[in-house]
Assembly symmetry: C2
Homo-oligomer: 351 residues x 2
């Protein structure tokens, strides 16, 4: 059930069955336009479709004008809290503004923001978070999903009444199970594009796993039109994790990838080391080649036949496969060298 409505965000379309949009957020000083634009471009290069910037004050809003200039048409989003004047000031320079019903209030303030959105064709995400529910919407845990959606519904009605059309909604909680329930309820209650993600997901390691489990579950149900993986750390890692989630579900084309067997008592070489070396050698290459690294003869030859290249542990060392056929038998090091040389040849997939 992708959303029935769409929202236009710069050159992107969110919702209505469009490809899932991957976002991330800069963590540079938002008053430093040069650093912020550089990080935004690095995120785009890594595969991020839409970049969000925290815009905490009017100085940052002014700096966003220069960020916009440096980014060209890269879809840009401003995250604004507390001060509606910041949203009004930044509206000309961004494609979407994210506001939280829990951190901005007052009828006059909303009217000013709505006018700025209309004047500049800027989209709006109305995003409620469990950590900042507006007064009157607080809830015991079992009602949290519904109250998050209620807070969003209240603002959707206000902004639609004010003539704003490109609306996106989100409901996030630190509890993974509450987030699942809230997003499913939002998908039923709203026909607007839905932004999904876990808020405060955790360290890079555990946050990636939690996000993949919950976003995987939601996306497989058809819930969600745009995702962000929130990790404490380098936002480039957020993009990598987000891409891997989308690829796993067949929602984004595969890049070159490494299949590696999990290693067990049968492994005849150090699969983890060989696989990590191959993954590093692939680097940021774009393509659709599959490289299999398999420890032994149980599934090794079968996987090697289906992969573009493979290294399979054997009784005597390792075999290097290319196009499904053994082309070298030797030590694991020799097989690895042959494989990396073949990668550098730039041979196309399924040669």
């Amino acid at each position: 059930m992708p959303s029935r409505r769409t929202a236009r965000v710069g050159d992107l379309t969110l919702g209505g069955g469009a490809p899932i949009v991957l976002q991330s957020m800069t963590n540079t000083d938002p008053r430093d336009a040069e650093a912020t634009a550089a990080q935004a471009l690095a995120l785009a290069e890594a595969g991020c479709d839409m970049v969000r910037i925290a815009v905490p004050d009017l100085d940052a809003a002014a700096a966003t004008r220069e960020v916009r200039r440096r980014l060209g048409r890269l879809p840009l989003v401003a995250d604004v809290h507390y001060d509606h004047r910041v949203a009004v000031a930044v509206a000309p320079y961004v494609d979407k503004i994210r506001l939280n019903p829990g951190t901005l209030r007052g009828r006059a303030a909303l009217d000013d923001v709505a006018k700025a959105l209309r004047d500049h064709g800027t989209a709006l995400r109305i995003g409620a978070n469990s950590g900042s529910l507006p007064p009157g919407f607080e809830a015991p845990p079992h009602l949290l999903p519904t109250r998050l959606c209620d807070a969003v519904a209240d603002w959707v009605a206000r902004f639609e009444d004010a003539g704003c059309e490109d609306l996106v909604v989100s409901v996030k909680a630190t509890s993974t199970t509450a987030t699942l329930a809230a997003c499913r309820e939002a998908a039923r209650r709203f026909d607007h594009p839905l932004h999904i993600g876990l808020t405060e997901a955790g360290t890079a390691r555990t946050g990636a796993i939690r996000s993949a489990a919950i976003l995987g579950a939601l996306l497989a149900e058809g819930v969600g039109d745009t995702i962000r993986v929130s990790l404490a750390g380098d936002p480039i890692e957020e993009v990598r994790v987000g891409q891997e989630i989308l690829r796993s579900l067949g929602l984004r084309p595969e890049a070159d990838r490494v299949l590696a067997c999990p290693t067990c008592g049968r492994a005849r070489m150090d699969v983890a080391v060989v696989a990590a070396t191959v993954e590093a050698a692939l680097g940021t290459r774009r393509g659709t080649r599959t490289v299999a690294v398999m420890g032994c003869e149980v599934n090794g030859p079968g996987e090697a036949r289906h992969a573009d290249m493979a290294i399979v542990g054997t009784r005597d060392g390792a075999a290097f496969y290319r196009g499904g056929k053994v082309v070298l038998q030797g030590t694991a090091d020799e097989a690895l060298k042959a494989l990396i040389a073949a990668l550098d040849d730039g041979i196309p997939a399924h040669d």
Copy 2:
């Protein structure tokens, strides 16, 4: 749709709505009973419910007797390929044997294995993999999910005819989307407990994300009774990732956990470093405490009120919260020291 039948594996019940069983696999030399048993115990200590061992030959089968002796009642599974005599030899010492229809054939061989399973009350997992489909079941990619299930169905019929009752099934492919489709088809076609996982998922980093996305999707649909996360690397990491997936979906009680905000331009301290320090300090403590690490005042105070302890970045440094209230204001280092001291006090959750 949890399976309607159950399978008994030692003291565990798989399927029929029982808690999802988490497994992993040793990667020691299976002929080295001391090392294998030590790793199996370490896996159990980390939260693994059932430990699998590769048993490639009769020497390894003999060593498994000693592994069994050292493990007591820890549920133990043997992974056997090619030689049915190994399955017969190891049946007395393990609670389940995993066989692959693609690596074992012959009517007489299956009859011998079935007799050993019956004689010793040993369960059987019939597990087909895309890398080793039996002759006659090969398939073009779009038919792979069905042909994997067909290969399993063929063996289910044979072993049920031979009087074996504790059967578990699995269908795995290196393609994540084929695995999703195959597991959904298996859940429809079989009423036996279903083991789910990606085969050859990849390096520890990407394999964890792919596994979480696919297992998260399946478990959220109610598909799967036991999981393994296959990673090239330390199997302890497989257990950590598997637990995190189950916890994310509310399928396993939470341990102490760290919530961390993703950091953005607003962060007033290095959230990633503080969060990683707290996660390391929690270590393997079992409990249900939530520690929030939040960079700024937007969602910080709200999350801190709901967490057992928290560090929130402020304009002047950081605040340490306990039980929802600020108990210290100082530098981020001072707040971190106070938090770690409070952890070491062993105060209970929601004190």
